[in-house]
Symmetry: C2
Subunit: 299 residues, 2 copies
């Protein structure tokens, strides 16, 4: 069994490209249709009602394009609206980024103290704490919103004193609380991994939701027999035959990348540099779509 339809991935903006990158790494044959709602980004400071409405509009754009699976790469939508999306979408499996990240942290924290950083809406929802405690009720979860991280990444201020000071500002309390696991609960944050790690120290393990979400998607597709068809000449392009170390990975080398589509609701002037930062590769092309037109049809 196989399924040649693309995987749908959406985010409030371009941050979800870090999830797309992990999908290309783990499943190089898969095609992705990515949607970034760049006209209305960011979602992290908006109300739950608006986040639910925008999330369903985004999902509908991808469902109309016949995707085989929907990955909610946005931590904010995953935290606030995943139940709402699951209730409203019956056509395909819907995967958020919260549960995979929470599961990874729950099984890794020996100290039983986990930190979560994300947008204001992600933290307010308590979604990571609920997910972690549903697996391990004895784990204490400390969450902290870090609204400056996304603009710092989008400004390209990665290895910079402003960023180091900001990381200290947000995280010093959490380090004092004795966490040994920190969930990067926003798709932009993996870009800051090195500066965060050097600030919090090596005793604290960083959990990248993007990576664990791609693994979860891989498991589900295998279980459903929904993987992209194997090549006609087996072995030639099978990734198992061409083992790559993490450092060697290049998104462009994935078969699925060139056949993937990247949709945005606004062609923002800085999308090329931001995409390059997040994906580690330039986007082959982008297409502008409207996400607002379903407004009137909603429940």
């Amino acid at each position: 069994m196989s399924d040649s339809r693309p995987i749908g991935v959406f985010d409030s903006g371009l941050g979800g490209l870090t999830v797309a990158k992990e999908i290309f790494r783990l499943m190089p044959r898969e095609r992705i249709i990515y949607l970034g709602d760049t006209a209305r980004v960011p979602y992290g400071g908006k109300s739950e009602e608006t986040i639910r409405r925008f999330g369903l509009q985004d999902a509908r754009v991808l469902l109309d394009l016949n995707v085989k699976m929907l990955i909610v790469a946005c931590n904010t939508v995953s935290s606030v609206a995943i139940d709402y999306l699951e209730r409203n979408i019956k056509e395909v499996p819907v995967i958020g980024v919260v549960l995979p990240g929470a599961r990874a942290a729950a099984t890794r924290s020996a100290a039983k103290r986990v930190g979560v950083i994300g947008t204001a809406a992600t933290v307010r929802s308590g979604a990571y704490a609920k997910a972690i405690n549903s697996i391990a009720p004895d784990i204490k979860v400390y969450a902290k919103p870090c609204p400056l991280f996304v603009p710092l990444v989008e400004e390209g201020l990665i290895d910079n004193d402003i960023t180091r000071l900001t990381v200290q500002h947000y995280l010093y309390e959490m380090v004092d609380l004795g966490i040994d696991c920190l969930i990067l609960g926003c798709t932009h944050y993996p870009i800051l991994m090195e500066v965060i790690q050097s600030t919090v120290g090596n005793r604290i393990q960083l959990v990248d939701s993007a990576l664990w979400t791609a693994k979860e998607a891989h498991h589900i597709m295998k279980a459903l027999g929904a993987e992209y068809p194997a090549p006609i000449t087996p072995g030639l392009t099978d990734p198992k035959e061409q083992p790559k170390k993490a450092g060697q990975f290049s998104v462009e080398a994935s078969e699925g990348f060139a056949a993937s589509r990247f949709l945005v609701s606004d062609v923002t002037p800085n999308f090329e540099s931001v995409a390059e930062t997040l994906l580690g590769a330039g986007l082959p092309s982008i297409e502008k779509v409207s996400v607002e037109e379903l407004e009137e049809k909603e429940p």
Copy 2:
């Protein structure tokens, strides 16, 4: 002659409250209907096409409420779309924040070197340079986008090392270029006035667009005889009779404030603290409106 209709003021978010504040200070009897497009804020990184579309949608909401004047308190919309709005709106005078700020700077710069800071879109448009050079062609204008200033203000990081470092990061070049006048070309920036002034030094005069826009609106309303009707018992509430020093000003003391309306496209969780920071007073109440529904009717 007088006109008791309210003044319409809109912004991409709550930043335009700094303009509203100056209106209440200069014209305490005037009622304002303020619209903040908090569901889609910020506009500064979006494309010109999207900024024009959103700006006209915002304007239409206020025109439908019978305002006597439209103040585009958003520097991004004023920079990118003021001509477009003027072409599409014939009912009432439309005032942007760029021209008043540019005029103030052009008449103040002895060194003939003016700096402008704002969003990416404001800087890219070159609107301030065009406006300044239409008045004084010999003035050199240096512009710099400062995308981190808005999130810093909204995080409440005003008197903070991160903010000082960020101000240095953005402005050290401009100081070296010998400007003697710096336009704060974004409605959030007046909140950072002290930290900016202490960083660039007292030799550089800061020009607050919000203040000069309120003055411009005042002039135009006087010229048109469109001011709010004088009180029946003259003198009692006439601001001229009760001179106040700048430090004494309180928005709540303005007659027009309590009768003003504050509309938002999303009731964001942090609107109260952000409004308090920008207006220097809590909002009496807010009303949620839809700004998107005119989508299909546009030219």
